[in-house]
Amino acid sequence: MGLATTRGVDREVRESIREFLYLESLALDERRFRDWLEAFAEDARYEIPVRVTREKFSEWELSPTSRIFDDTKETLEVRVKRLETDFAWSEQPPSRTRHFITNIVVRPTDEADEFLALSNCLVYRSRGEETTPSLFSAQRRDLLRRADEGDGCGWLIVHRWAALDQAVVNAHNMSIFI
């Protein structure tokens, strides 16, 4: 397919999706998890597949069956409800995160009001007095749907799929969101 262009997506859509992704990650970094949850459609899926080190030309490197996150909006809400207590020990005291979202490419889909947004995501996570931060580098692929007038900030995440670049993650847990 060569370097597929994003022709067919107008500048205004691209701009507003970019802003949406920034605002969404701001909610995470500011620990406004309820606001973050509202960015998801009711039928949303949130998936992080398990990466496996394989030979070149293998059928897959991202497991088709194993996932680190395998969530719906309902289970994301379980996670958020938990974070709203003061005994979610893995986030007590909370992680300091910073999401860096770059290389955003927006592609049209068969649905007029849905777009695919690819982005690179680097998450810096610092905990407690630890001097070594955890770094999570991932590619994100978000299916976004235009939200109804007055609903949130213009878009809803229908499907977030994020693939971590490390096969063995060097963090004792993933108590944060990508």
């Binding site: 080190t53 394989r54 293998s58 719906t72 996670r79 893995s90 847990n173 993933m174």
Partner: protein, 438 residues
């Protein structure tokens, strides 16, 4: 006798521990110490039966996975005849690594250094310049990959580096009875849902192994959210109910937690509950049907857990099963491997649901797992600090509880579920290995 090179301090600590464990005391230092780590590598992991893989990870001829026992990389293969074999992941010529990926399928392995070629079962069959260089004089039969002794139980493939170790059957010593709850889910048994999730943690493997030997005590606090928000079908008032069982001198143990009033095998679909009657013996049914939580470990570092996760507070929820390996990579440092086991014959719908429940609770993003590792890394750090040398922890819970004499399963069973009884046996078995002459 301690190994040469072990300091007097550590030798004395282990000697004192022999008495201490029986009275309910364990030194903190064992949970983060270089000398202990070295002793474990040389005396425990070099002789015990260690978990390598589940058969369902390598279903087809030629399938392989790369796994570890201590610092040894091992290729576990289903060969071209369908037989399971294992070899060190090292070329016999000059020691290059053969398989550089975690899994794959190959009939042969070719070394990327000088090009020796082996069958996937380890026999050397191809040597470049065999005539010109070796003048045909290299005896290929002698120079295959180094074999690792393996054996299986109900789909689990174990390996041992000790050619003289007793059989796996003897090693498990009756614990098979308890493993069946995890491995014989339904008529077709259990299979992995996919490759394991693995990550590195600054945690000593033993803290995890102890926790999964039946630490029901931590659950209401470490996983308080589950109780408080109703996702975990147990209550603080009855949580201690159930049994703790271990196999004396073998180190294997299981905790079986009960929730009064729940139907048998709650959280499984009805069809699967029916099938359990066929796959388990009447004695096993008696022991397991009441179980909410089954948390058990095969000594030294393989563990299992079955428990439900309920998205609707107050309801039984969905039962899932995880298998995990606490692989030591340094003192106070480990690589965690986590699988989800699903009943092979269950509907795809249930398998998906069970897998979702598993990832919500376990695996590196699992809500229960997150909290466990948070605590365990802190325990590890404390155990490695200098002032903690000489400090002991109490293991006295259940010290005077009598053994249940009418318990239908093998081993030493006590009630309630919340007790240190299993752990005293775990640490005295561990001590047997570490103080044994090799």
């Amino acid at each position: 006798m301690a190994a040469i090179g072990t300091s007097e301090g550590v030798q004395r600590m282990l000697a004192d521990m022999r008495e201490g464990v029986l009275q309910g005391r364990v030194p903190a230092r064992i949970f983060n110490d270089q000398e202990i780590f070295d002793l474990e590598r040389d005396k425990l992991f070099s002789t015990a039966w260690c978990f390598l893989a589940h058969e369902s990870e390598i279903p087809k001829n030629g399938d392989y996975v790369v796994r570890y026992i201590a610092n040894n990389s091992i290729i576990v293969v289903r060969d071209e005849h369908g037989n399971l074999t294992a070899s060190l992941n090292m070329c016999r010529h000059r020691g290059n690594m053969m398989c550089k990926s975690e899994m794959g399928n190959a009939s042969h392995f070719r070394c990327s250094y000088h090009g020796w070629v082996y069958k996937n079962s380890g026999e050397l069959i191809g040597v470049p310049y065999f005539k010109e260089g070796y003048e045909g004089k290299l005896d290929r039969k002698q120079w295959g990959l180094v074999k690792v002794r393996i054996d299986t139980y109900a789909g689990l493939i174990f390996g041992t580096l000790d050619p003289d170790a007793p059989s796996l059957d003897e090693y498990l010593g009756g614990f098979q009875f308890y493993l069946d709850i995890y491995l014989k889910q339904g008529a077709g048994g259990s299979e992995v849902h996919g490759p394991p999730d693995h990550w590195v943690a600054e945690t000593d493997w033993k803290i995890c192994a102890e926790n999964f030997s039946g630490d029901g005590y931590h659950t209401p606090v470490a996983h308080q959210f589950g109780f408080h928000l109703g996702y975990f079908p147990s209550s603080g008032a009855t949580h201690s109910e159930g049994w703790a069982v271990h196999i004396p001198d073998k180190g294997h143990s299981i905790g079986l937690g009960h929730t009064p009033g729940m139907p048998p095998f709650f959280g499984y679909p009805d069809q699967l509950v029916e099938q359990m009657r066929a796959s388990l013996s009447p004695e096993q049914m008696e022991v397991f049907s009441k179980t909410r939580t089954a948390v058990g470990s095969v000594f030294p570092n393989l563990s299992f857990l079955i428990q439900p996760f309920s998205l609707v507070p107050g309801e039984p929820g969905v039962r899932f099963c995880t298998m995990r390996l606490w692989h030591p990579i340094g003192p106070g440092r480990m690589e965690m491997w986590s699988w989800c086991l699903v009943p092979k014959d269950a509907s795809d719908e249930y398998k998906e649901e069970a897998y979702k429940a598993y990832t919500l609770a376990f695996g590196q993003a699992g809500t229960f797992e997150q909290d466990d590792f948070e605590n365990w890394t802190r325990v590890t750090r404390a155990a490695g600090s200098t002032a903690v040398r000489g400090v002991e922890f109490p293991y006295v819970m259940g010290l005077d509880r009598p053994r249940l004499d009418d318990f239908p399963g093998p081993g030493y069973a006590v009630s309630p579920y919340v007790t240190d009884t299993n752990f005293r046996n775990l640490w005295s078995t561990w001590l047997d290995y570490l103080t044994r002459e090799v």
